[in-house]
Symmetry: C2
Subunit: 382 residues, 2 copies
C-alpha cells in the first residue's frame, strides 16, 4: 500500500466500528476521550493541553460528538474526523454538555471509560455529576486495538524509524561533532537533524556522557564530552503522512569517544548479544515476557543482571510508549501488527552506561526490524 | 532582589509551609502531586510524561516524600527539592507505596487533593485502593497560593516578558520576513528567536494570516502570507534562572502586510482602546470580572461584541494558563502579586482576526506592564 493510497476516513471508520464492538462486548456504556493519543488515533484531532475541556463522547449506537471549546472548534477537521462538533462557549459548563450527550446512550450509564491521560480535575467533575457510574481507564478498551497496527501504520512507523536511522548513522559516521561540546548542545543538533530527516516534531533527545550514561533518562546538561567517554544517544520524534496523525520513532545508539576500555567492550558485547537474542525471540505466539527473558537471560548469565534496571521495551505508535509492554513475566501474547522497542541496557552507577534500542514489528512470518542503523560499538576519533 | 540572590531552598521551604497551613485550614489530609506545575513550583522537579507514576506525598505534619520510578530517581535534585525519594523498581506497585506513605498522616484519610493534571488512570487506581476518600483537585489548595507571585517570581516573569518583547519588536521592525513565506515557516523562525532571546523552551507560536486570524488558536500551516493580510502572531516560551523552575511568556501582536483597510484600522482602534481600558482597570481590590468588563464594554459599545469570543485573560507563572482567570462575571479580587494576560480580540469568521496581548502584574500601587513592545497597528512594507 503506498502512502498516498491510505484512505484515512476509511481507516478511522474501521477503528470506530472496532471500538464500538468492544464497548458492547465489554459492557461499557460510553467512552470519553480527552487528552492522550486515543482521540487523535480515532479522529486525527489532538486536544489542546488546556484547562478548557475537549472530550469526544463515543457511544455503542449513537454517532460520536466532540465537545470542544468554541475557540478551538475551527481547528477541528470535523469531516475528516467524522465527528459532529458540540462547541461550548466561555461561561458554559462542558461537563453538563458531556452528560447530555451521554443521554443518547444507555441511561443511566453504569460503566464509562475515560482517557487514561484525561486530567484528574475533569474526571472529578464527571464523577461528581455521575456518582453512580463505575469508571474505567479507556486503555482497557482502546489499548488492545491500538497495539495491533494495520499495514499503513506499520509503514508509517517504518518511515519514522528510517528518519531516526538517518540521524543515528550520521552520529556513527562522526558527522555530528561530539568531543568538546556539551550534552545540551549535542542534543539540540540531534533534534535539528530529526526534523531535517522528516520528523514534524522532536519528542526527546537524550545525550548521556560518561557517568551520566548510568541514568537511563538523563537530561542533557552542561557536561562537556571528552575522550574516553561512553555516550548514550536516545532520541525520537513524530513523523506523519500529510493529514494523518503522527507516529513515533525511538532509537538508541551508544558510541565511545576514542578507544573503548576492555571493560566497556566486554559489557557492550553482552548488551549486543542480549538485544539480538531478544529480537530473535520475536514472533507471533510468543509472550512479551519471553522476549524480556531472552534479553535479561543473556545479561544475567554474564553477571550484569543487577545493572539492567528497566523493562526490555515498550509498544510504540501514536504514542511513544503504549501497549504491548515487554516486561518480565508478561503473559501478553505477541501477534502480527504489534510494534515495540527492544532496548536492554547496562548501567554502572557513577561510571558509565550503555543501551541499544531498535523498533521491531511482529509479522505473520516472524518479525521485521524497522531500524537498520548498525548495532555494533562505534569508536569515534577526531 | 537580584537574580543571583534568590535562595531557592528558602523559597521552596516557604511554599511548603504555606501549603501545609492551607491543608490544615481546609481540612485536607494530604496532597498528591503528579503531572502539572504544582510539583515543579514546590520542588523544581517536573514529572516525566510517562506511564510510570511520579507522585509527591505532602502531609500536614510529616516530611514530603517523592514516589518516583527508579530510573528517573537520578534526575531528581533531592536536596535542592527538599524531598525524600522513594524510588520504585519495575514490577512494584507505586500506588501501594503512595498509600503506605499516607499512613504517616491522618489515617484513614477523609479528604485528599490530587494534581489537576494527574492522569485519570492514576486517580482511578488510587480511588480503587482508597474507596472512602473524598477527592479534591489540588488547585483548590495550590491555586490561590501559586496565583500570588513573590518578588522573585515577578522578576522572572518580567525576564520572560522582556525576552518575548525582543521577538515582538523584531517582527514589528520588519526583521522577520513575512510576505511570501508560509505561516509554518514564520512560526519556526519565531520559535528560534524566542530561544535566541533567552527562553529555554518554546511553548507555542501561532501565526494566523488573513482569514486564519479569525481562529484564535489557529495552527500555523501552509498558507503563504501576502500583501493585504492581517497577521496575528501569538507566542511564548519558558524562561528560567539557573536551577529554578521556568516561568512563561505570552504575547500577541497583530501586523498588516501593506496598507491596512479602513475596516481593519477601525477595528484595531477599538481593540487597542479595549486593551488599554482593561489594563487601566488593573489594581488591588478590583475584581477580575471588572477587568474583563472594561475590555468587553469598549468592544461591545463599538458593535463588535459578538466577535470577541473568549475571556480577556489568564494568570501566568510556571504554567502558561493558571489562576487568576480574567473572565466575565468573575468575583476573584485582584491583589498584589497576581500576574495575568490582558488579551482581547476581534474575530470576523472567513475574513480576518486581531488580538493584542500583554502580561501585567498587580502591584500595591496599581499595576506594572511586564511587556513593553509597541501596541499600535504596524503596517509592514517590503
Amino acid at each position: 500500500m503506498s502512502a498516498s493510497s491510505v484512505d484515512l476516513r476509511a481507516v478511522r471508520a474501521r477503528r470506530l466500528s472496532a471500538l464500538r464492538a468492544r464497548l458492547a462486548s465489554d459492557g461499557v456504556d460510553g467512552l470519553l476521550l480527552s487528552h492522550g493519543a486515543d482521540l487523535p488515533w480515532l479522529t486525527g484531532y489532538r486536544a489542546m493541553p488546556l484547562e478548557r475541556l475537549t472530550m469526544l463522547v463515543v457511544l455503542p449506537e449513537a454517532d460520536p460528538v466532540l465537545v470542544v471549546p468554541e475557540l478551538e472548534a475551527p481547528r477541528v477537521a470535523a469531516e475528516e474526523a467524522q465527528v459532529t462538533l458540540a462547541p461550548w462557549s466561555e461561561g458554559a459548563d462542558p461537563v453538563e454538555l458531556v452528560v447530555d450527550l451521554l443521554r443518547r446512550g444507555p441511561w443511566p450509564p453504569r460503566r464509562l471509560a475515560v482517557s487514561d491521560r484525561a486530567w484528574a480535575v475533569d474526571l472529578l467533575r464527571l464523577q461528581a455529576r455521575l456518582p453512580e457510574v463505575q469508571w474505567l481507564a479507556a486503555s482497557t478498551v482502546t489499548g488492545p486495538l491500538r497495539a495491533v497496527k494495520d499495514e499503513a501504520e506499520v509503514e508509517a512507523l517504518a518511515g519514522a524509524a528510517a528518519a531516526a536511522d538517518a540521524v543515528a548513522r550520521a552520529i556513527q559516521a562522526g558527522e555530528v561533532p561530539l568531543r568538546g561540546r556539551s550534552e545540551a548542545v549535542v542534543a539540540e543538533e540531534v533534534g535539528r537533524r530529526l526534523r531535517e530527516a522528516g520528523h514534524q516534531a522532536v519528542n526527546f533527545a537524550i545525550v548521556a556522557s560518561g557517568p551520566n550514561g548510568a541514568s537511563p533518562h538523563h537530561e542533557p546538561g552542561g557536561r562537556v564530552l571528552e575522550t574516553g567517554d561512553t555516550v548514550v544517544l536516545d532520541f525520537g520524534g513524530t513523523w506523519a503522512r500529510p493529514g494523518d496523525v503522527g507516529y513515533c520513532s525511538d532509537i538508541t545508539r551508544t558510541v565511545v569517544l576514542g578507544r573503548a576500555s576492555a571493560e566497556v567492550r566486554e559489557a557492550y558485547a553482552v548488551l549486543e548479544a542480549a538485544q539480538a537474542a531478544a529480537r530473535a525471540a520475536v514472533r507471533p505466539g510468543v509472550t512479551a515476557g519471553a522476549v524480556d527473558r531472552a534479553a535479561r537471560g543473556v545479561i544475567e548469565d554474564a553477571g550484569y543482571g543487577r545493572w539492567f534496571i528497566h523493562r526490555t521495551g515498550h509498544g510504540i505508535g501514536v504514542e511513544e510508549h503504549e501497549e504491548p509492554y515487554i516486561t518480565a513475566g508478561s503473559e501478553v501474547v505477541l501477534e502480527p501488527g504489534h510494534v515495540f522497542s527492544v532496548e536492554p541496557g547496562i548501567y554502572l552507577p557513577g561510571r558509565f552506561g550503555m543501551r541499544l534500542e531498535d523498533i521491531v514489528a511482529v509479522r505473520p512470518e516472524g518479525r521485521a526490524d524497522l531500524n537498520q542503523a548498525p548495532r555494533g560499538l562505534v569508536e569515534l576519533d577526531g
